[in-house]
């Protein structure tokens, strides 16, 4: 096994633990935004797609690269934007609550 693979394996193992522990106490209310947020994070595949597409030098690789870039970019951009829209609602709620409070004070 190469040294590089070993290190990568280690990163993998540690990231598994981080991933599991970070999530372990999330309230039901946030399940959907969290799913959507992690969905955006795996859009990091765009990094891989860029490497492939930038070096494309044959019809096949051009097609593959193009599709990969389109799909990955959709994933990243759409993922973050839709998550933000959802969470805006939650924030809106607190803001709404605040406005209501201010209104009461008047």
């Amino acid at each position: 096994m190469t040294n590089e693979l070993l290190n990568e394996l280690t990163f993998f193992v540690l990231a598994v633990f981080v991933g599991i522990e970070v999530i372990s106490k999330v309230p039901t209310m946030l399940h959907t935004p969290l799913m959507s947020g992690t969905n955006a994070i795996h859009g990091i595949i765009l990094v891989g797609a860029l490497f492939i597409a930038a070096g494309a030098n044959s019809p096949v690789t051009v097609i593959l690269g193009f599709l990969a870039v389109v799909l990955a970019t959709t994933n990243v951009v759409g993922g973050f934007v839709v998550t933000d829209r959802m969470l805006e609602m939650f924030k809106g709620r607190q803001a709404a609550a605040k406005t209501a409070e201010t209104a009461n004070i008047k």
Binding site: T2, L5, F11, F12, A15, V18, G19, I20, V22, V26, T28, M29, L30, H31, T32, P33, L34, M35, S36, G37, T38, N39, A40, I41, H42, I44, I45, V47, G48, A49, L50, F51, I52, A53, A54, G55, A56, N57, T61, L64, L67, A68, V69, V70, L71, A72, T73, N75, V77, G78, G79, V81, V82, R85, M86, L87, F90, A96, A97, A100
Partner: protein
């Protein structure tokens, strides 16, 4: 220079982790999304200077990013709040597809006898990425009602799925041990696409959020595998984070519905749904209805009303109408609260989001634990398009599929009003005795129509 890139990737990974942490708490969730997005920008920023563009490469990257960004932004901005699960499914499928395509491109460059430590993660990424892609599309179709939401089963289905899986394993071995030729790994991809479809078909539409979460974790793992192939730290860590947290989240989601993941994914096999039978068996029993005017009077002269919103409210897009009614009642001095069951609707947090969108003030939304003791003091409980979450069978019938699920104690109120279209059961497919309760009044019809009529009647009352 490479050190700088590596540090940038490390920073990106840290931001992803911090973002996830923030996403797990309501107060910080929105910032968490920004934090993760900042990590993404840094990772991409560190990638661009490392690229060696061919002429065609420059063009497809530019056009590809523009197309993807437009599709993503427009899709995400236009989607209605009720349709968010299917939108997430689409974005997730896109990621899975991208991971599979990247892996295919890599295998093409390796020649026919790639080293095992590059080939293994590649084929993994192709299979898992393709399953996620195809499965997400089916989930989308089911939720968007482009196809039936009921589980699609046929005799011998398990055998067929087993055969597809076996064929996939065969091709994996072929690629790894014999020769990595395009025919083999393209076949692999096609078979994995078919498996993705076959995997999601027998799962009911209402279980799609759980399935999407699972496929989300799959995509994460596929991305991590691509990281192994490309020796890219950012892909490994980000992908693994999503794979691990997504798996746990999937479990938490099915737990919240009071079901095992196994039951969600494979429940359709060999289990006859009791919907029709149960509903038919009770046909002899009578229910109480009432005129809109009488109901409006009942509501307007109540001291305390609790509204229980459910899936039907989402379908009818009745959140604004329900708010109007509540505001009107409050002006008349009635105390109004909303009781939110954790799995009301079709995705976790569904009701919170919908009511927030309708600008219902935060303090009126009460979680189940908070309000369950107060039902007995309520004069009227208005159940709008909800059913399972108030079904007393969860407490009383050990044989019931929802037995043991905590429910809202609507049955303890003085009057219970159901706004639904028929006597049909809810998602769990079981009859609800509360509909036949002497304290219960049924108001049949689409939730939004009924509410609008009620609003007018209360104004007149």
């Amino acid at each position: 220079m490479t050190t700088l890139y590596a540090l940038a990737y490390l920073l990106a990974a840290i931001l992803f982790i911090l973002g996830l942490r923030q996403l797990s708490s309501p107060r910080t969730a929105r910032n968490g999304n920004y934090t993760a997005a900042a990590g993404m920008v840094i990772a991409l920023g560190a990638t661009v200077p490392q690229l060696h563009f061919t002429g065609a490469g420059a063009v497809i990257v530019l056009v590809g990013v523009l197309v993807g960004a437009s599709v993503g932004t427009i899709g995400a901005r236009q989607v209605k709040m009720t349709a968010i699960p299917q939108m997430v499914a689409l974005f997730n499928g896109a990621g899975g597809g991208a991971a599979a395509l990247v892996a295919v491109s890599e295998l093409l460059t390796f020649g026919s006898h790639p080293p095992i430590n590059e080939a293994l993660p590649s084929v993994f990424s192709i299979v898992i990425g393709s399953v996620s892609f195809a499965g997400s599309l089916v989930a989308f179709a089911k939720l968007q009602e482009l196809m039936t939401g009921t589980p699609i089963t046929y005799p011998g289905q398990q055998l067929v799925n087993g055969l597809i899986a076996a064929a996939i394993i065969g091709f994996v071995i072929a690629v790894l041990a014999i020769a990595s030729i395009p025919f083999s790994f393209l076949s692999l991809m096609v078979l994995a696409l078919i498996l993705g479809v076959a995997f999601v078909l027998p799962i009911g539409g209402a279980d799609m959020p759980v399935v999407i979460s699972l496929l989300n974790a799959f995509t994460g793992l596929a991305v991590a595998a691509s990281g192994f192939t490309l020796n890219n730290f950012a892909l490994i860590v980000a992908g693994t984070l999503v794979g691990a947290s997504g798996s746990l989240l999937t479990k938490l989601m099915s737990d919240a519905m009071g079901r095992s993941l196994r039951n969600v994914l494979f429940g359709a096999f060999g289990q006859v749904r009791t919907t029709a039978g149960a509903a038919a068996g009770k046909e002899g029993r009578s229910v109480r209805t009432s005129s809109i005017e009488d109901l409006a009077t009942l509501l307007a002269y109540s001291r305390r009303v609790i509204i229980v919103p459910g899936y039907g409210l989402a379908v009818a897009q009745a959140q604004h109408a329900v708010r109007e009614l509540a505001d009107l009642l409050e002006k008349k001095g009635v105390e109004v609260d909303y009781a939110i069951h954790p799995v009301a609707g079709r995705m976790p947090g569904h009701m919170n989001v919908l009511l927030a969108e309708a600008n219902v003030p935060y303090e009126q939304l009460k979680e189940m634990d908070e309000i369950n003791d107060e039902f007995k003091d309520a004069d009227v409980v208005l159940v709008v398009g909800a059913n399972d979450v108030v079904n007393p069978a969860a407490r009383t019938s050990p044989g019931s599929p929802i037995f043991g699920m905590p429910i809202l104690n609507a049955d303890e109120a003085k009057n219970i009003v159901f706004l639904k279209r028929s006597m049909r059961p809810g998602f769990a497919g079981i009859d609800n005795d509360l509909l036949y309760d002497p304290k219960t009044i049924m108001l049949f019809g689409d939730a939004k129509d009924s509410l609008t009529k009620l609003v007018n009647a209360v104004k007149a009352a």
